[in-house]
Amino acid sequence: MGILTLLIVLPLGALALLAMVPETWTRVFRWTTLGVTLVQLVVVLAGLLPVLMHPAAGESGFVLQEQADWITLDMGSAGLMKATWLLAVDGMGGLLILLTVLILPIAVISSFEITQSVKGYFLLFLLLDASLIGVFCALDFLLFYIFYELMLLPMFFLIGIWGGARREYASVKFFLYTLVGSVFMLLVMVGLMFSFTDPVATAAAGHPVHTLSMLDMMQTGPEGWPSNLISGSFFDAGRTLLGLNARLLAFLVLFIGFAIKIPAVPLHTWLPDAHVEAPTPVSVILAGILLKVGGYGMVRICMGLFPEGMIVYSPWIAGAGILAIVYGAMVSMAQQDYKRLVAYSSVSHMGYVLLGLGALQVTGLTGAVYQLFTHGITSAMLFILVGVLYVRVHDRHLPNFSGLWDLMPRYAFFTLVGFFASMGLPGLCSFVSELLVFMGVLGSSIPLGWILVALSGIVWSAVYFLRAFRQLFFGTFDAGHTSTWRPLLTDLTLREYVMLVPLAVLAVGLGVWPGPVLDMIDDSLAHMLHQSLTTGHRFLSAPIP
């Protein structure tokens, strides 16, 4: 069994075992889940990273490839359809798997707070774990689609059952929103399947064998033309649907699906509701990992399979990024709810990912992917910080707090690290990604004026974070209506240290020394971008039949 399969099977196996354990053994659920996530972490650190770090990781960068026959369907006159258990990672996928296994143990530790229906909670958690790993390494479109949908299911219940007062509303909203994207993805998948053949299997069988392997779909000939694209098929150049270019249409609907996930303004309103209602660990996973699936999909699927869409729409994508940065920050400034503020700051920060993608340039793309990683670290930290306060007094209304520095100095310290890491202070992680994104856009053809608007984002982030910091920590602790809180507001506990210290260390480490991580991703991203641009321009210049 390969490493990637192991990473997916491990939580599923634990799930099967735990399903047989009686409900009352809460400790078993907690510690087993923690153990599983820690084993995953060790496997990734010891097995996956050395391979990816190795300079011989290969130009195209896909390593640890595993392929097994899965579904072969005879579609009569249309030929054979073949879906396989195809897993592999390149720098980007590996980085996001690393992020997943870093965040998950912390989320498990945070889940120790959960006391209601512990068994169900941890079983769903393990299912979510498996699907998150799967989504970042599945390279068969059907397999990707299944993992992508499978993520929704545990998330829906985790918010809907263990959430706050308006949990049903939030979970249904989350589910419907993301489902909209999925439906279109299904249609595009069918179209793709009929348009591509598996070269090896076709040669062996002597008649067309349709494939769902993204590796086959991305394979290009000498001039950048996809080698396995069936000429005249649904996604051949120049084919139209409802009078629109079919490929561009496919790009758009996929992109919108991922834009909901990331989320981009104006498709973001599920996020604050989901975050506010979700329990802390679910928020951590949602902001730390789940949003990254959107960015990952944009690069891997939108750019990888329909590269000319990226070229055509890149100014719009960059524009959407700028809108998200400024708009998210504006809305964040108006928030009085701590968690909602952090949620909207995520909208703003994911705008940098869109902006970096829209630059269509390797530095910007590297920055965008690095931002996926660093935002995973900082947002996880911020949501845990919110949780620290909420678990003590069950309130998140910022004006109700003041002068907490005197009561909780250690908490103030970690908040300071989290806030400044998030607003991109040099030496902390977000600075690297913001620097690379802005280097990318300033090296592209986007007008300087627009970039300055986007740059204002680093001022706005200082405004809302420092404002929240002042409300929470400056001033004197009000002994009036909150006097009953004084005994409750104690400084960090050991369990909270265990969650916050690794995140703070990562936030500093990734900011001071980004080299290794960037080394891991930049070759494969440069290769991917180069190939996509070649193919994209080839499609754009193709004669229309």
């Binding site: 809305v331 928030q335 802005f438 740059l455 002042r470 920590f473 001033g475």
Partner: protein, 658 residues
């Protein structure tokens, strides 16, 4: 030379190390909290001096490491590193020396504070961040130090976090600085794209200047950090921090970083940008000097004075004499830090002497007559005040002279707007004399105006020593043997000497005019405010000049000053406040609220609306499914009738043959 590299690292890291020890050990022993930093800064000072002697012969040592892999096949290398040359070493000595003095002073000033050791920790971190700027060998390291001093400044301004003023001033300082930083970052990136490297030496070595926009954007960073127009609004508010912090950060070092950076980069700045910089400096110098006249807070006057002097330095850089500006930065660091420490001593002693409990120890109108009870403080103030005013025999004279000469020389060459800047510079010089003697007159002159002022006393020991050093450091002899002109000495060796092509009379006239104006300002200010009287009955001495002063000149100057101050508070800072009000505020409508409202009712409303609509349509459609055959037939008949009607209407002509 690997050990030179260790030397740089030692200088930069030592204060942070001291700060960390303060932070860690402070809980167990208060004494260790400050002693650790003192020792660390002493070592830093020693190392910096060693660096000076090493680099005395010239040359530079560079150390750089790739910060991240070369992107785009090595076209662009992002490197971080340090550069040691004579100027940087001298700057390090200055920073370490003043930091050492301020730390020693703070030991007394902060005594009894509940968070005594964290104060020294922040101070240590600040010095390290500042030294990072000083030794930055590339733009990224510079930017990192740039933002770290901002963070330390935020923590130190907000040190007394229970005070409302501090709680608001700290974020304001950081955010306004960040506005400059955002532009600065854009400028850095544009410069990097052009030269393919972040390395400052190779950027400067390319010879030809940058384009207008990158140059202007780079300058914005200096404008923010050095609190130049229109980003000056944060500095006066920053006075909410402890006074030694104002002396170190907001007079001597951090705000000077903008000048240092602009001076270092000035060879690659295009002429238009330099002119913009000079105009910004001129506006700041003049308006801040006027505003200093309208203040009554002992520290705010000095804050505006700092703005004004920094503006003067910016004008010097714009005029092409960056070495004069850096020299003024050096001398200014001494006398301005000293004046702030004097203010601290006064505030401290007044607070001690106050028995009523409702004295505003920072209001100069409550003081007066301190000359008699604090004779040594008065004498030292005199040294530093005269140096600030730019009187001969003091260091300020020498350095200000260089800047003014540079501006005049540039004006004679370029003309145009530069003549206006010459006027601004000289008026500023006169106003400097006026406001500082007003400041000193209110505090030291006349009779005590409060009970506490009568019982104030000189500081002793650890609090007095730094002021002595700084006061004596304001005398000419440390910088030049000739008190009236900068002679060949260490200053010109370190900074280089600009050769100005002007006639001999300019060299004579400029210092005479500036000293004359400053002297007139000093005398006027002392006569108006040194007598310890509020604008009382006209004394008919001095050929009725007092009458003229009070009736017209002073009234005019004061009303202009009040006007400018009002403009500053209402328009410039007002703009900031309105902007922040428009964008975000707690109650009432604002842009952020509008965005939030749009989000809740517009975007999310649309989503919920669609959801509701779907539900309604669903419910309505459900009502059609009643299961009653009669109703279905009825609907069918209706539809058939409607279709027939539509058909007849459309094909009316065909059917009826018209």
């Amino acid at each position: 030379m690997p050990w030179t590299i260790s030397l740089i690292w030692g200088i930069i890291l030592m204060p942070a190390l001291g700060g960390t020890i303060s932070l860690v050990s402070g809980k167990s022993s208060v004494r260790v909290g400050s002693a650790a930093l003192l020792v660390a800064l002493g070592i830093t000072l020693g190392l910096a001096m060693a660096a000076v002697s090493l680099m005395w012969a010239g040359g530079q040592v560079q150390v750089a490491a790739a910060w991240m892999p070369d992107l785009i096949a090595g076209d662009l290398s992002l490197r971080v590193g340090f550069r040691l040359d004579l100027l940087a070493a001298c700057m390090a000595v200055l920073v370490a020396l003043i930091a050492l003095l301020v730390t020693r002073y703070s030991e007394v000033y902060m005594k009894g504070d509940a968070r005594y050791s964290s104060y020294f920790a922040y101070l240590g971190f600040f010095v390290s961040a500042m030294l990072t700027i000083v030794f930055a060998g590339d733009l990224l390291t510079l930017f990192a130090g740039w933002e770290w001093v901002g963070l330390c400044s935020y923590l130190l301004i907000g040190f007394w976090r229970n005070k409302t003023a501090a709680a608001h001033a700290a974020p304001k300082a950081f955010i306004v600085n960040r506005v400059g930083d955002a532009f600065f970052l854009a400028g850095i990136i544009l410069a990097v794209w052009r030269s393919g490297t972040t390395d400052m030496a190779s950027l400067l070595g390319q010879g030809q200047p940058l384009a207008f926009w990158p140059g202007l954007l780079l300058i914005c960073g200096a404008v923010g950090k050095s609190a130049q127009f229109p980003l000056q609004v944060w500095l006066p508010d920053a006075m909410a921090g402890p006074t030694p912090v104002s002396a170190l950060l907001h007079a001597a070092t951090m705000v000077a970083a903008g000048v240092y950076m602009a001076a270092r980069l000035s060879p690659v700045l295009p002429a238009e940008v330099l002119t913009v910089l000079a105009v910004i400096g001129g506006i700041t110098a003049l308006s801040a000097a006027l505003m200093a006249l309208a203040q009554t807070d002992i520290k705010r006057i000095l804050a505006y004075s700092t703005l004004s002097q920094l503006g003067l330095m910016m004008m010097g850089i714009g005029a092409g004499v960056p070495e004069a500006s850096v020299f003024h930065l050096f001398t200014h660091a001494f006398f301005k830090a000293g004046l702030f420490l004097v203010a601290g001593i006064i505030i401290h002693t007044l607070q001690e002497a106050d028995t009523t409990g409702n004295l505003d120890a920072q209001d100069i109108r409550q003081m007066g007559g301190l000359r008699r009870v604090m004779p040594w403080t008065w004498r030292l103030t005199l040294l530093m005040g005269l140096s600030l005013a730019g009187m001969p025999l003091f260091s300020g004279f020498l350095s200000k002279d260089g800047i003014l000469l540079g501006i005049v020389a540039h004006a004679l060459q370029s003309g145009g707007i530069w003549y206006g800047l010459v006027v601004a510079a000289f008026v500023t010089t006169g106003l400097t004399g006026l406001y500082i003697s007003r400041w000193a007159g209110y505090i030291f002159g006349g009779a005590p105006r409060s009970e506490a002022a009568a019982h104030a006393h000189d500081a002793r020991g650890a609090m007095a020593m730094p002021v002595w050093v700084l006061g004596i450091g304001s005398i000419w002899g440390w910088f030049s043997l000739n008190p009236l002109a900068l002679s060949e000495g260490w200053v010109s060796h370190v900074l280089g000497h600009a050769s100005l092509h002007v006639q001999e009379w300019v060299h004579v006239a400029v210092p005479m005019v500036s000293a004359g104006l400053a002297g007139a300002g000093l005398i006027l200010g002392w006569r108006l405010y040194g007598g310890g009287r509020q604008a009382g009955p006209v004394t008919r001495r001095w050929m009725y000049l007092d009458f003229w002063y009070e009736k017209y000149l002073a009234v005019l100057a004061l009303s202009v000053a009040r006007l400018v101050y009002r403009i500053d508070t209402w328009i410039v800072d007002g703009f900031v406040r309105v902007l922040s009000g428009v964008i975000v505020r707690n109650e009432g409508p604002s842009l952020a609220h509008a965005a939030a409202f749009t989000d809740m009712y517009g975007v999310d409303g649309l989503v919920n609306g669609v959801a509701k609509l779907t539900g309604r349509v669903g419910r309505w459609v459900r009502t059609l499914q009643t299961g009653r055959i009669q109703q279905y037939i009825g609907w069918s008949v209706l539809v058939i009738l409607a279709l027939t009607g539509w058909y007849c209407w459309t094909y009316w002509e065909t059917i009826w043959g018209y």
